[in-house]
C-alpha cells in the first residue's frame, strides 16, 4: 500500500502529504465490486463467448471455435443488412437530433420567447424522464391505422395519411419521430446550459461591427458551443447506435426487417440460445461505438480553436 502512494507526483488539487491509500480501499470496494460483476466481467465473458460454440457457451468448458462466429455473422445477409441499417439510421438520427436541439435551444435562449421559456423547457424535457416503454406504447397506438389519432388528424386537415409502422417506406421515419420525442429535450437542455455560459461581450462587439444574424451565428455563437456540440454528438452517437427499446415496443424489427437494428437482432439470437453469434455481434457493435466516439473526440480536438 505504501508503494502505491509513491506512484507519480501528487496532484496539485490534493494535499502534499499523501496519506496511504488505506481507507480509500474500503470506500472504493463496493463500487469496484459492482463494476467488476456487472461491467468488466460480463464484457470479458461476452468477448470470450464470441469465440466459442453457442451450444457449449454456458458450460464450464466451452468449445473454442476461433473466429467462426464472426465469419458466420458476416456471411449472414440479415446481419449485414442490419449493420448498414443501423449505421444509416444512426447517422440520420444524430444529425436530426443535433440540428433540431440546436435550433430549438437558440430559439428558447433568444429574447424572442420571453417569459414562457420555463414552460417550453419543461414541455420538451418531460418526455426524457417519462419511462420510454410508456412513451413508445402511446406512440405505437397514435400511429395505429385503426385507432390512430394521427391519421385521423391528418385527414381532418386534408393532408395525405402517414403509413406509420405498417409500411416499410415510412417505418424508419415513424420510429425516428418517436425517438426524437423521447430524447431531444436532453440535448436541448445541454445546448441551453452552454448558451448561458456564452460570452455576451462578443455578441455586443459583433453587433457594433454590424455583423448579420448569420455571421454572428457562424463566427460568434457556434465556436462557443463546441463543448456542447462535442458532448451531444458523442452521446447521440452512442445512444442511437444501440437503439433497442423503441423497436422492441413498436415494431419487433418489422415490417420485413425494416427496423431490425443490430442490438435487436443480436438480442433475438440471444433469445434463441445462439450465444456465440449474439456476443460476436455485441463485440462488433461495441467496436463501432468505440471507434466512432474516439474519432469524434479527435476531430473536435484537432480543429483549431474558434
Amino acid at each position: 500500500m505504501n508503494a502505491a502512494t509513491a506512484h507519480g507526483p501528487p496532484r496539485p488539487l490534493l494535499p502534499d502529504r499523501m496519506p496511504p491509500v488505506g481507507i480509500f480501499w474500503l470506500f472504493v470496494l463496493p463500487f469496484a465490486a459492482l463494476t467488476a460483476v456487472f461491467g468488466v466481467w460480463p464484457i470479458i465473458l461476452s468477448i470470450q463467448t464470441s469465440f466459442t460454440a453457442s451450444a457449449t457457451a454456458l458450460k464450464p468448458n466451452p468449445t473454442w471455435v476461433g473466429l467462426a462466429n464472426y465469419v458466420s455473422i458476416f456471411a449472414d445477409p440479415v446481419f449485414v443488412a442490419s449493420l448498414w441499417r443501423t449505421l444509416l439510421y444512426t447517422f440520420l438520427a444524430v444529425v436530426s437530433t443535433i440540428t433540431l436541439a440546436l435550433l430549438y435551444a437558440l430559439l428558447l435562449h433568444s429574447a424572442l420567447v420571453g417569459r414562457g421559456r420555463t414552460f417550453f423547457k419543461l414541455a420538451i424535457f418531460l418526455p426524457v424522464v417519462t419511462p420510454d416503454i410508456a412513451g413508445y406504447v402511446v406512440w405505437r397506438w397514435l400511429y395505429d391505422q385503426s385507432f390512430g389519432a394521427l391519421n385521423m388528424a391528418l385527414a381532418a386537415l386534408h393532408l395525405p395519411t402517414f403509413g406509420g409502422l405498417a409500411s416499410t417506406s415510412t417505418v424508419l421515419q415513424a420510429v425516428l419521430i418517436a425517438e426524437l420525442w423521447h430524447h431531444v429535450g436532453f440535448y436541448v437542455v445541454i445546448f441551453l446550459a452552454n448558451l448561458a455560459l456564452c460570452d455576451k461581450g462578443q455578441m455586443e462587439a459583433a453587433d457594433i461591427d454590424g455583423a448579420g444574424a448569420w455571421q454572428k451565428f457562424w463566427h460568434v455563437v457556434l465556436p462557443q458551443l463546441r463543448p456542447a456540440l462535442l458532448v451531444n454528438s458523442v452521446y447521440a452517437l452512442i445512444q442511437y447506435l444501440k437503439t433497442f427499446t423503441v423497436v422492441a415496443v413498436m415494431t419487433k424489427g418489422g415490417p420485413n426487417d425494416a427496423t431490425n437494428f443490430l442490438s435487436y437482432y443480436a438480442y433475438q439470437l440471444f433469445d434463441q440460445g445462439r450465444y456465440g453469434e449474439a456476443t460476436a455481434m455485441a463485440s462488433v457493435l461495441f467496436a463501432i461505438v468505440i471507434v466512432l466516439a474516439a474519432a469524434l473526440m479527435r476531430l473536435q480536438r484537432t480543429r483549431p480553436a474558434g
Partner: protein, 278 residues
C-alpha cells in the same frame, strides 16, 4: 442591440407552442383514452374529452398476465428505491476515493473499467450479465435486479465532478487538525455534498423507474416484474385491451412525472452537469 420585431416574436412563440403541443399531446391522449372504452376510441380516436369519468378500467387491469397489479406497483417502488439508495451510496463513496487518489494505478484501472462499461451497448451488456448472474446464482431474485440497476453513469459523473471542486485547502486544514479520512468524509465532505446527493438520488430514481430489460431478463417469473415490464407484456398480448394499455401507461408515467415537476430545476441542471462531464 436592435429590438426584435413583434412579428418575429409572435413567430417564435407560435413555434415554441407548437413544439410543446407535440411534446405534450401524447400524454393528453393517453390520459383521455384511459377513461374511454376500446369501442369508443375506435369510433372516434380524437375526441378531446372522455364520455364518462369512471375508474372501471382499474378492475380490468387488476391482474396482468396472472399477477395482481399492486404487485407490479410494489415491485416498482421497492426495486427503484432500493437500487437508488444502494447506487448513490456505492457510487458516492467510489467516486470520492477515485477523486482523492486519482494517480493510484489500480484506481485508474477501475475508472477505465467503469468507462468501458458505460460505453458498452447497454442492451447487449444484459446478455453477458445474465450469464454472470447464472454463474453466481443471482437470477430470479430481487437482489440481482437491484444491484445491476445500482450502477449508472450520470450519478458517477455528478459525484466525481462535485468532489473535484472541493478546495484542497479545506481537506488540508482538516488533516493538519489531525482528522482521520473517515472523519473528513463524514464531517467535512458529506455536509457539503448534500445538494449533489439529493440531485443524484432524484435522477437515479427517475432513470431506474423506467428500466425494463434488466428486470425482464433477470426475472424468472412475473413476481419480480415492475410496471414498465407489465406494460410491455400487456401491450404484446393478443386481443388488444386498448383502454387497459392506456391506463397502465398512465400509472407507469404519473409518479415520475409528478416527481419531475416538483424537482424540475434540480433534474434538468443535474442531468446536464452529469452529461457535460462525460
Amino acid at each position: 442591440m436592435q429590438r426584435p420585431s413583434p412579428w418575429l416574436k409572435a413567430l417564435a412563440i407560435i413555434t415554441a407552442t407548437l413544439v410543446s403541443v407535440i411534446c405534450l399531446y401524447p400524454y393528453y391522449w393517453m390520459l383521455v383514452s384511459s377513461f374511454r372504452t376500446t369501442q369508443a376510441i375506435l369510433s372516434s380516436p380524437l375526441r378531446p374529452w372522455p364520455e364518462q369519468l369512471s375508474l372501471d378500467v382499474l378492475r380490468e387491469i387488476a391482474t396482468v398476465g396472472g399477477t395482481p397489479l399492486w404487485r407490479y406497483a410494489l415491485n416498482s417502488v421497492l426495486i427503484t428505491s432500493a437500487s437508488t439508495l444502494i447506487g448513490i451510496l456505492v457510487t458516492a463513496l467510489g467516486a470520492y476515493a477515485l477523486v482523492r487518489r486519482p494517480k493510484f494505478w489500480l484506481f485508474r484501472c477501475l475508472r477505465a473499467g467503469f468507462m468501458v462499461t458505460i460505453m458498452y451497448p447497454y442492451m447487449l451488456l444484459v446478455i453477458p450479465v445474465y450469464i454472470v448472474m447464472y454463474k453466481i446464482g443471482l437470477l430470479g431474485g430481487y437482489s440481482g435486479i437491484i444491484l445491476f440497476l445500482a450502477l449508472g453513469p450520470i450519478q458517477f459523473f455528478l459525484f466525481e465532478q462535485f468532489f473535484q471542486t472541493i478546495p484542497r485547502s479545506i481537506i488540508e486544514a482538516a488533516l493538519i487538525d489531525g482528522a482521520s479520512e473517515a472523519q473528513i468524509l463524514f464531517s467535512v465532505v458529506l455536509p457539503l455534498a448534500m445538494p449533489v446527493v439529493a440531485t443524484a438520488s432524484i435522477i437515479t430514481f427517475l432513470l431506474n423507474w423506467a428500466q425494463w430489460l434488466p428486470v425482464l431478463v433477470v426475472s424468472r417469473s412475473p413476481d419480480t416484474y415492475t410496471l414498465p415490464v407489465a406494460l410491455l407484456n400487456l401491450n404484446g398480448e393478443l386481443g388488444v385491451n386498448f383502454q387497459g394499455i392506456m391506463a397502465l401507461s398512465v400509472l407507469t408515467t404519473i409518479p415520475v412525472t409528478l416527481f419531475f415537476l416538483v424537482a424540475q430545476r434540480r433534474v434538468m441542471s443535474g442531468m446536464t452537469a452529469g452529461a457535460v462531464k462525460g
